[in-house]
Symmetry: C2
Subunit: 356 residues, 2 copies
């Protein structure tokens, strides 16, 4: 006993189907489908008539039905720790713009760095047949990435490394930290403190590496008491700076591994009545909005956030077309942004370090 087709019942609120178009035009659904998709043979006038009727009915293809047969969702998952973290909106924007250009949509997934939430979202994305996933989270569980890839869902890692072969786009953190440190060295600073991100995270390691490399290039050994571990939050920048300036031989410059911590450092110095950049120079990392609002304005390393998102997204979509191609790593160049928080070291009568 056949149930009646929905098309037969007038459901004025719902969206029209190709059945309705077909019956109105007097052709089969196959022809309508061909006319709408542009594939296959359809007489020119017929196609135009169909298009016109579809438009008149305000037709929109049901993407569930379409996805079910084509096995493509045109959905991309974007996994971020927290969109409220000022670093990510620009990345997300880059992803979205690139996705839209190619007819994809973005499902936003905030994980708060929680593995549980990440796992849940992986299930959601598999269930929704996401065509691909972009990870920007700091601690990717490689298990989840593997699960996705095993399910046939390609993955791109943005600003992240892993013990796993896959596509990666990243801003060169070693290079960025190197630039920041060399800039300070060039201004005559020799004792440069660093407030790092969490040691467990690859980006943190890279930035420390860049810092070390710049120092050693000038034959300066990096002293452990000048290195403070932070957690990328303002408070830890404040604390780190406080510790550094209380050292018996305090640094004349501080490199904070992100802007939020740099702002914290600025506050600590302000409270301690140290002038920035008069007494202590400060350099940040990321170039988020607050960097140009803080007083003094932060000299910082700009990351191409938007581009990172856009490129990650394009890599992902390219990968969909060429699943077999070798994995790529795209390294973007961070850029030093000169503002007022870093300046030439004061020479108090004694010898200045030679500039770079």
């Amino acid at each position: 006993m056949r149930r009646q087709r929905r098309g037969a019942i007038a459901r004025c609120t719902a969206i029209a189907t190709i059945y309705e178009i077909a019956s109105k035009v007097g052709v089969s659904t196959a022809t309508v489908s061909r006319a709408l998709s542009g594939g296959g043979y359809v007489r020119k006038e017929l196609r135009e008539q169909i298009l016109q009727v579809a438009k008149a009915m305000d037709y929109q293809p049901n993407s569930f039905a379409r996805g079910l047969v084509t096995r493509q969702s045109h959905i991309l998952g974007l996994i971020v720790p927290d969109i409220c973290n000022p670093f990510f909106p620009a990345v997300a924007r880059g992803v979205e713009d690139a996705a839209n250009e190619r007819g994809y949509n973005v499902l936003l997934c905030n994980t708060d760095g929680s593995l549980r939430k990440e796992n849940d979202y992986i299930d959601v994305l598999r269930s929704r047949q996401a065509d691909g996933v972009i990870f920007t989270t700091s601690q990717v569980s490689s298990r989840n990435v593997k699960t996705l890839m095993k399910s046939g869902i390609p993955v791109v890692l943005a600003d992240r490394r892993m013990d796993l072969e896959c596509d990666i786009v990243s801003a060169d953190n070693v290079e960025g930290a190197f630039q920041a440190t060399r800039h300070l060295l060039g201004l005559g600073h020799a004792r440069i403190g660093i407030i790092t991100g969490p040691m467990g995270v690859a980006t943190s390691q890279d930035r420390i590496e860049g810092y070390r490399r710049a120092l050693s290039e000038l034959g300066i050994a990096s002293s452990p008491d000048l290195i403070r571990e932070g957690d990328y939050r303002e408070r830890s920048g404040y604390d780190g700076a406080m510790e550094l300036i209380k050292l018996s031989d305090p640094p004349t410059a501080i490199f904070a591994c992100n802007d939020l911590m740099a702002v914290g450092a600025l506050h600590a110095l302000e409270e301690s009545e140290l002038q920035v950049p008069g007494d202590v120079s400060v350099v940040g990392y990321d170039d988020i909005t607050v960097a140009s609002v803080a007083r003094p304005r932060l000299t910082t390393i700009a990351q191409p956030k938007y581009e990172m998102g856009a490129i990650a997204c394009r890599m992902l979509i390219d990968r969909l077309r060429a699943p077999g191609d070798p994995y790529q790593t795209v390294m973007l160049r961070p850029q030093l942004v000169l503002r007022e928080s870093a300046a030439m070291m004061k020479c108090e009568g004694s010898v200045c370090n030679p500039g770079l």
Copy 2:
């Protein structure tokens, strides 16, 4: 000639289907479906066995197939002008958290205030059978909202009004501006400049209204030359402030209708070597991150951004269950955040305005 079922061909990379579970357990797909969904009768041990097998196969229901028959996508569209605008990440986060709690996912739609992009996204959302849509855009075309509602897709407006019956959640902009202005009045300021948002937008109108109301409560007429139209961007705050201080009888306080413009005003005053709050007090609106980073820290009106998103989302989901219920408007209370950019007016020998 029947095509072979996919289930028959081993496709190790793809996700298992209920057919595979059914055949492994030796029951029909209907029973599997019932076991997984929890509806209908299934013997207890059988259900457990099915659940176990599903787990072992790492099964995830195909949401396309499911959506096709249930006519529910569990997708909510979130339309924002630009997620990079610091106001929106928190709203988005609120939406997402509330959505997740109830098993919904969020499709992020940046429109840049462009009607074309908005139209495109409306089509996408209809095509994807979105269960509901949240608008946070400043200029909603009521046509699009109507289109959605006609397609049976409920809509909630966040921080927005319209010439249309629908659910609305909003922070009371009249009240917020009133509080800001009254605070300045209370500090002894009588000449208070205002830098508004674009006049075409309802929120701007409301904030002007609040400003006027606070002034008239003390019998002060609002003078047109103290009102400058801005566009919610930093630059226009700078320009507006510059114009205001060049007045023959310049204001002793400036109320900028958002923090970005307030920061712009701060820069203008700094450049003009006017002390804030010594010479001029400044109050902003929104309480975005920069408000607490700017020097002096901005006294501002905090909007419950996260709550606005979360409540909008909950209203939307409630509406899905009760399509017939009368429309609601939820008004949230903005809150004055006291920082350092506004202070008691200097009394230069002459008469002070009486505090409030």
